[in-house]
Amino acid sequence: MKHFLDMGGYWPFVWPAYAVTFAVMALNIVWARRLLKRSRKEALRRLTIGGTEK
């Protein structure tokens, strides 16, 4: 395990690279969900204010 984590001495470069990439992926999931939630809320608000539907 220690050998694996050491990455042949390249651990200070390999692991941060993986961390940044997976942080970017996680953020993409969070941002996408947040956008959809906000748009739904906004659409609901417009419907309530607009009152009548077409």
Partner: protein
């Protein structure tokens, strides 16, 4: 008949429902492929004869760089379709893609820089490949900045689409930069046609990651697209039903 699918794709309620239905079909295979690619890339693939275990950065760097180009091309094509056919859904695809592409361009630059330090002895060099990739990040940021400068979505769609289409010229420049100019960056390891420069134990995990990242983009795009489509609709009757589900 042949064009029915194209016309259906122009219909916001159809796209909204289709996106919701398709998302898990892209998200789960993406997760599985990425986990398989990680196991293959980090454990099963042998160390490189020159770079040792340092080369394993390729399994996140190359897919991120691929995403930066693929997402931009998708964005530019969608923006072009939006401009030519005045298709709201196409503009929504372009707008939904930009933050995804920008974030992966950032990841490609950072992981490349982390790979460059031990192998080239520097985090950064004003080299053709690196510089053109940095310009790509600015193009994404410019596109997003331009969109946010307009209150009116339709005007934002049209203005930003022109920028996206013009900026697509940078995509082949990035791709061929390592061939056209003398670059620190290595030539492509996986060619679309021709033999890869790596053994299967090294390139199969890379292929899994490339496909996994692309499907991930598809899943994130579909979720964002639903948001973008909703924000472009005003009091249409289908919205009431859509926001409840």
């Amino acid at each position: 008949m042949a064009w029915t699918w194209f016309h259906r794709l122009a219909s916001p309620p159809h796209v909204y429902r289709l996106s919701a239905r398709l998302t898990p079909w892209l998200a789960w295979p993406a997760a599985l492929l990425i986990v398989a690619g990680l196991i293959g890339g980090l454990w099963l693939a042998p160390p490189d004869y020159q770079q040792g275990d340092g080369y394993r950065i390729i399994y996140v760097h190359a897919p991120s760089a691929w995403m930066s180009l693929f997402v931009y091309t998708t964005m530019a094509v969608a923006a072009g379709i939006g401009l030519i056919w005045r298709m709201k859904v196409a503009h929504a695809v372009a707008a939904a893609s930009a933050p995804v592409g920008a974030s992966f361009t950032f990841a490609a630059l950072v992981t490349g820089s982390l790979w460059g330090k031990p192998m080239w002895g520097t985090y950064w060099q004003w080299d053709p490949r690196l510089t053109s990739e940095l310009i790509l990040l600015f193009l994404y940021l410019g596109y997003m900045g331009l969109r946010s400068a307009f209150d009116d979505t339709q005007r934002a769609d049209r203005a930003s689409a022109v920028l996206a289409v013009v900026g697509v010229i940078n995509v082949p420049i990035i791709h061929f930069s390592v061939v056209w100019w003398n670059s620190l960056h290595q030539a492509p390891s996986l060619m679309y046609l021709g033999k890869p420069t790596m053994p299967p134990s090294m390139y199969v995990p890379l292929l899994l990651m490339l496909v996994g990242f692309t499907l991930f983009y598809g899943a994130v795009l579909l979720v964002r697209l639903r948001g973008e489509v909703l924000s472009r609709e005003r009091a249409a009757s289908w919205i009431r039903e859509a926001v409840r589900t």
